[in-house]
């Protein structure tokens, strides 16, 4: 059975790219949330195995959204997917217990490797 992935990113491009990369793998993109509120709601509905989280979102940031999700579901598996490769947001994420990151642009191998590591 495929592992469910919720993609939180305001860009439809990132969603489509990740969805395409996951086709034919053990993972399936089951949802796309464009902002923090949608992400929280969709997490409750879908209960995904993995959440990919962008940092810069309209409204709540990716970190604020992660905090909300982890506040309710402490075992949620969140990976930050961002173009910010050096920033104090990495430290802020670590404080929330998020230690998985992928920096844009990324390829299929990097993505699957990161997912496998998370669910190890």
């Amino acid at each position: 059975m495929s592992k469910k992935v919720l993609i939180v990113d305001d860009s439809i491009f990132t969603y489509k790219e990740i969805k395409h990369m996951l086709s034919g793998t053990d993972y399936e993109a089951v949802g796309h949330a464009k902002n923090g509120q949608e992400a929280f709601k969709m997490y409750a509905e879908l209960m995904p195995d993995i959440v990919t989280m962008d940092i810069i979102l309209p409204g709540l940031t990716g970190l604020e959204t992660s905090k909300l999700i982890l506040g309710k579901w402490k075992d949620a598996k969140i990976i930050i997917v961002s173009s910010l490769a050096y920033d104090d947001t990495v430290d802020e994420a670590a404080k929330l217990g998020i230690t998985n990151f992928i920096f844009k642009p990324f390829d299929k191998e990097e993505l699957i490797k990161a997912f496998d590591k998370m669910l190890g």
Binding site: F13, T14, P58, S83, A85, D88, K104, P105
Partner: protein
């Protein structure tokens, strides 16, 4: 305060690197004046907040935006006009992320950038007091694009 030469190398190397990796285009700086002459121009821009405040913008013809967007998807699917703008905004978003990350790392700053905005037209109208830190015209193979950084 950062000087123009401080960020020039960062912007130039980021434009070349991200264009190659995301849009699969080897871009280079065109000789001459950095103004460009666009038929149907669009401008994508983002402003930063925090330690270093600037506006980074990318202006080019609609046809170049389409070429970038189609390269990003490896020509897998036909793109409508809205998708072209969304995809090229993501290209610019990644470019901004790399520029800001490099500035933060190099100068020990905490700078953040906003979600990119797309407008029709050539460039952003800014008060004269804003200092142009970077302005270059790049050859994107399918046409030219102007990249500017204004210190706010």
């Amino acid at each position: 305060m950062l000087q123009a030469y401080d960020i020039s190398e960062i912007i130039d190397s980021s434009v070349k690197d991200i264009s190659k990796r995301v849009a699969k285009i080897d871009v280079f700086v065109e000789k001459g004046e950095a103004f460009g002459n666009f038929e149907k121009p669009y401008t994508i821009f983002s402003t930063t907040s925090g330690d270093y405040q600037m506006m980074l913008s990318f202006c080019t013809d609609k046809s170049v935006l389409r070429a970038i967007a189609e390269n990003m998807t490896h020509g897998r699917q036909p793109l409508d006009e809205e998708e072209v703008l969304v995809y090229t905004s993501e290209y610019f978003n990644i470019l901004c992320g790399h520029v800001i990350s490099a500035i933060n790392k190099e100068f020990y700053l905490k700078t953040y950038f906003s979600v990119p905005t797309v407008i029709k037209g050539d460039g952003i109208c800014c008060p004269d007091s804003h200092f142009v830190q970077y302005q270059k015209l790049y050859n994107y193979y399918y046409g030219s694009a102007k990249i500017e950084a204004l210190q706010l």
